[in-house]
C-alpha cells in the first residue's frame, strides 16, 4: 500500500478506490467470522473459487469475504449482488447451483432462501428478513460492506474520514466536548460517561498518556466485541486514534481475549496496514499527531476485563485488580494517565464525529444514547448479534428480531450483564432496555449478552452456574470474594442436590451483602447479582428445591428421575442403544423401562427418542 501522508492524499486515495469499483460488476459476499467458520464457511469459499475458475468466471465475478453479519443461526450467509439475494446455511454442495442458476442463469434458488417459520414465505433480500428489519445497524452494519482484511474497503465506505475531520478542523478539547455532549456511555459494563473519562485523562498530569481498547470480552454468552474486531477492526482503531488525539496520547494497546485468535489476527493485520501507509506512526496525515498501537493477547483470565487487572496484565504481571482510590485516568498503565474503553465504545466514536451530536442524541433514551449491540442467545429461534436503539423493549428484541422461543418452551427470563448481571422475568418483557432501567430491575447492561431462558431452564441452577464461574475466576485477592463466592456456590450446590435447608435463602442474602461490600473490584461487588435477582423473581423455585426437594424445570439431576411414557413408547430400542450405563431394558416393540438406580440422568435417551416418550418427573 502506498503512503498516505496528508489529508488531501487520504481523500484522493478514497476517490481512486471508489473509481476502481464497477457498480455493474456482480459479486458474491460470503460471511467467514468465527461462527461461520465453525459451520464450514472456508470450504464454501474454496469451492466457490474453484467453481468460478471452472466456469471461466474468475475475475468477472468478485468474491468478498466478510466477518460475521449477525445472523449466526443461519451461517454461512452467501449474498449475491447486485441483485442482493441472500442465501443462508450454504454448504459447499450448494455452490455449483448458485453459480449455474443464480450467477449465470439469473434464477433464484428457493431452497436456500430464508423461510419465515410462521407464514412459510421465502424472503429474497437481507433487509426484509425479520431478524434484520427491526435493527438499527449503524455500527455493526458495516461488517457486511467490507472485507476486514482490506484497508481499501474501509476507506471506500468513508473510513478514517472522522479522523481526518478532527485533525483538520477540531481541537482536542472540542473533541472531548463532542463526546461529552453525545452522551456516549461505556459499552463494556458499568456505563460510565465516556467524554468525562476522556476529560479526566486529558487533564491528568503525566509523562505520557495511554489509551487502551479492552477486548477481553469475558462474559459468557456475549460476543459483540469479537464480532466487531473480527469484522471491522479499522472502525475500532479509528475510534482509538480520535481518542488518543483528544486525550494527548501517542501510544495505545488493544488487549484481546485469549480465546479470540481471529480477532487478534485481524486487528494485528489492520495495524500493520496502517503502519505501512503511514496512518499510524509519526506525523499522521501530515499533522503533528503521532500514534502507535500494540496488540496484546490475554491469558484466559476473566478478571483481566477489569481495567486495573488488565493494566497489570499488560505490565506482565498476574491480573489482580487494585483499589481505585486513584483512578486509572490519573495513574494507570505504568503509573501514567490511561484511558481505557471497550471495543464497541471506541467503534461509536467515528460515527459520532461523522454524524454529529444532534443526530446521535436523537437515538436512544434520556440517559442512554445511541445503539447497543446485543448477543441474543440461548433458547431463542434467531440466535445472533443484533444492534438496536437504546430504549427498545425486551419483547421487540426477543420476538420481533429473535423470532420467539425455540422449541415449544415458554419464555421464563432474560439474563443480561453476564455474571455481574441478573435475570429479568418474563413479566417485565415490555421494559425498555437502557442502562438505568436494567439496573432498577436488579440486572445491568453489562457488555450486552442477552440470554433467553425458557421453562426448561432452572433458575437455581443458573445462579449456581454463575457462582461456579465466579468462584473459579475470582483472582483471590479479597477474602470476601474468594471465600464468599465459594461459600455461596456450596449453598447453591446443596440446594440443587436436594440438601437445601430452611434458612439457606437468608444465608445467601447475607453472604451476598458481605461479598458485595467487602470486595475491591466489580467482579466481587456484583457477584451476588445473579443470586439476588433469581431470589427476587423466582423465590418459589428456590423453595421448591429446598422444601419439596423438587426441580420444577426438570434440570437438577439429584431431584429428577427419567421414565418412559407408556403411550408414546414404540419399543424401537433407540434409547436402550444410546444408554451408556445399560439402565434401560425392554424387548423390541414392547414398552421399555428405565432403572432409576442405575440411571445417571445423562439425558442421552431423551435426546435420542423420536417419539417424545422419555419424560422427566
Amino acid at each position: 500500500m502506498k503512503r498516505i501522508s496528508s489529508l488531501q492524499e487520504l481523500e484522493k486515495t478514497r476517490q481512486e478506490i471508489l473509481g476502481r469499483i464497477d457498480p455493474e460488476k456482480p459479486y458474491v459476499t460470503i460471511t467467514s467470522g468465527t461462527s461461520a467458520r465453525a459451520y464450514g464457511s472456508e470450504k464454501v469459499i474454496d469451492t466457490l473459487r474453484k467453481e468460478l475458475k471452472k466456469q471461466g468466471l474468475t475475475g468477472k465475478i468478485d468474491i468478498r469475504i466478510t466477518g460475521g453479519q449477525g445472523f449466526d443461526e443461519r451461517e454461512p450467509l452467501v449474498i449475491v449482488s447486485p441483485q442482493d439475494i441472500l442465501y443462508q446455511q450454504v454448504k459447499p454442495t450448494d455452490i455449483a447451483d448458485i453459480v449455474s442458476e443464480t450467477l449465470l442463469g439469473n434464477k433464484v434458488i428457493d431452497r436456500l432462501l430464508y423461510k419465515d417459520a410462521e407464514t412459510g414465505e421465502t424472503v429474497l433480500h437481507k433487509t426484509d428478513i425479520p431478524f434484520y428489519k427491526a435493527q438499527s445497524p449503524y455500527i455493526f452494519g458495516n461488517n457486511s460492506k467490507i472485507d476486514p482484511t482490506s484497508l481499501d474497503d474501509y476507506i471506500a465506505i468513508g473510513g478514517y474520514s472522522a479522523l481526518a475531520k478532527v485533525l483538520r478542523e477540531i481541537s482536542p478539547e472540542e473533541v472531548v466536548d463532542i463526546i461529552k455532549k453525545s452522551g456516549l456511555r461505556g459499552r463494556g459494563g458499568g456505563g460510565f460517561p465516556t467524554g468525562r473519562k476522556w476529560e479526566s485523562c486529558r487533564n491528568a498530569p503525566g509523562k505520557k498518556h495511554y489509551v487502551i481498547c479492552n477486548a477481553d470480552e469475558g462474559d459468557p454468552g456475549a460476543y459483540m466485541d469479537r464480532g466487531l474486531l473480527e469484522g471491522n477492526p479499522h472502525s475500532v482503531i479509528e475510534g482509538m486514534m480520535i481518542g488518543a488525539y483528544a486525550i494527548g496520547s501517542d501510544e495505545g494497546y488493544v488487549y484481546v481475549r485469549y480465546e479470540y485468535p481471529l480477532a487478534s489476527e485481524n486487528v494485528e493485520n489492520a495495524i500493520e496496514q496502517l503502519r505501512q501507509c503511514g496512518l499510524l506512526g509519526k506525523n499522521i496525515l501530515g499533522t503533528d499527531f503521532n500514534f502507535n498501537i500494540k496488540v496484546s493477547r490475554g491469558g484466559g483470565a476473566f478478571i483481566c476485563g477489569e481495567s486495573t487487572a488488565l493494566m497489570a496484565s499488560l505490565e506482565g504481571k498476574a491480573g489482580e485488580p487494585r483499589a481505585k482510590h486513584i483512578h486509572t485516568v490519573e495513574s494507570g498503565l505504568w503509573d501514567q494517565p490511561t484511558n481505557l474503553n471497550n471495543v464497541e465504545t471506541w467503534a461509536n466514536v467515528p460515527l459520532i464525529i461523522n454524524k454529529g451530536v444532534e443526530w446521535y442524541t436523537s437515538i436512544g433514551t434520556e440517559g442512554s444514547k445511541g445503539t447497543k449491540i446485543f448477543s441474543l442467545v440461548g433458547k431463542v429461534k434467531n440466535t445472533g448479534l443484533v444492534e438496536v436503539p437504546m430504549g427498545i423493549t425486551i419483547r421487540e428484541v426477543v420476538y420481533d428480531i429473535g423470532g420467539g422461543i425455540s422449541g415449544n418452551g415458554k419464555l421464563k427470563a432474560i439474563q443480561t450483564g453476564g455474571p455481574s448481571g441478573g435475570a429479568i422475568p418474563a413479566s417485565l418483557i415490555d421494559m425498555p432496555i437502557d442502562y438505568d432501567r436494567l439496573s432498577e430491575a436488579g440486572s445491568m447492561m453489562g457488555s450486552g449478552g442477552m440470554i433467553v431462558m425458557d421453562d426448561k431452564t432452572c433458575m437455581v441452577d443458573i445462579a449456581k452456574y454463575f457462582m461456579n464461574f465466579l468462584k473459579d475466576e475470582s483472582c483471590g485477592k479479597c477474602t470476601t470474594c474468594r471465600e464468599g463466592t465459594r461459600r455461596m456456590y456450596e449453598v447453591l450446590n446443596a440446594i440443587t442436590e436436594g440438601n437445601g435447608k430452611d434458612g439457606d435463602i437468608e444465608l445467601l442474602e447475607e453472604l451476598s451483602w458481605i461479598v458485595a461490600e467487602g470486595s475491591l473490584c466489580a467482579l466481587g461487588q456484583t457477584a451476588p447479582n445473579p443470586v439476588l435477582s433469581t431470589i427476587r423473581y423466582f423465590r418459589d423455585e428456590y423453595e421448591a428445591h429446598i422444601k419439596e426437594k423438587r426441580c420444577p424445570a426438570g434440570v437438577c439431576k439429584a431431584l429428577i428421575t427419567y421414565s418412559i411414557d407408556e403411550e408414546n413408547c414404540t419399543g424401537c430400542g433407540v434409547c436402550k442403544n444410546v444408554c451408556p450405563v445399560d439402565a434401560i431394558t425392554g424387548k423390541k416393540k414392547e414398552l421399555h423401562t428405565i432403572d432409576p438406580d442405575t440411571c445417571i440422568r445423562c439425558g442421552a435417551c431423551m435426546a435420542a427418542c423420536n417419539f417424545d416418550a422419555v419424560k422427566v418427573v
Partner: protein, 155 residues
C-alpha cells in the same frame, strides 16, 4: 523445547520483562504445555525470579504446567451452551474418557478442558476437538466423535 528455540522467542520480545505473558504463550504453543526446565531457562535469561514466572503461569488459565494430550477437547460452558445442555455433554465426555476436567487419558491421546465462552453461541452446545468445532452436541454425539478421533490417531 530446545533452549535455542526459547532464546529466539526471548530475543523476539527483546528480553522485555513485561512481555512475559506473550513469551510463555509462544513457548507453550510449540508443545502444549510449559515444562519446568523451560521456565527455569526463561527465569535465568530475562532475568526474573522463577517464583514470579510460576505465579503468572499458574494464574492464567491459558497455561498448563502439565503435559496435555494429543487432542485437546474443550467443552464450551458459556451461558448459552449451559442452558442448551452443555453440562450433560461434559458429563458424558468424562464418562467416555474416564478422566476429569484438566486431566489427560493414560494413552496421552486426549485432554479434557472447559472454556468459559467461545462466542459461537448459535451452535451451542459446542465441543472443540483440537481446532475442529462440533456444534449442537448431545451426549450421544460425544461417543461417535471420540471414536472417530481414536480411529484417526491409530492410522
Amino acid at each position: 523445547m530446545s533452549l535455542k528455540g526459547i532464546d529466539q522467542i526471548l530475543k523476539k520480545f527483546e528480553y522485555r520483562e513485561s512481555a512475559i505473558i506473550a513469551i510463555l504463550q509462544e513457548v507453550q504453543e510449540k508443545q502444549n504445555y510449559l515444562p519446568e526446565k523451560d521456565l527455569e531457562h526463561i527465569s535465568e535469561k530475562l532475568p526474573i525470579p522463577l517464583t514470579r514466572i510460576y505465579r503468572i503461569a499458574s494464574f492464567y488459565n491459558a497455561f498448563s504446567l502439565k503435559p496435555r494430550g494429543k487432542h485437546i477437547i474443550s467443552v464450551c460452558l458459556g451461558t448459552a451452551c449451559h442452558v442448551r445442555g452443555a453440562p450433560m455433554v461434559l458429563d458424558r465426555l468424562k464418562l467416555e474418557l474416564g478422566i476429569d476436567v484438566g486431566e489427560m487419558t493414560e494413552d496421552g491421546l486426549f485432554s479434557l478442558e472447559t472454556v468459559n465462552c467461545l462466542g459461537a453461541c448459535a451452535m451451542g452446545p459446542i465441543v472443540v476437538f483440537g481446532k475442529e468445532y462440533h456444534g449442537q452436541m448431545t451426549p450421544a454425539k460425544v461417543e461417535s466423535a471420540i471414536k472417530k478421533y481414536k480411529k484417526t490417531s491409530k492410522e
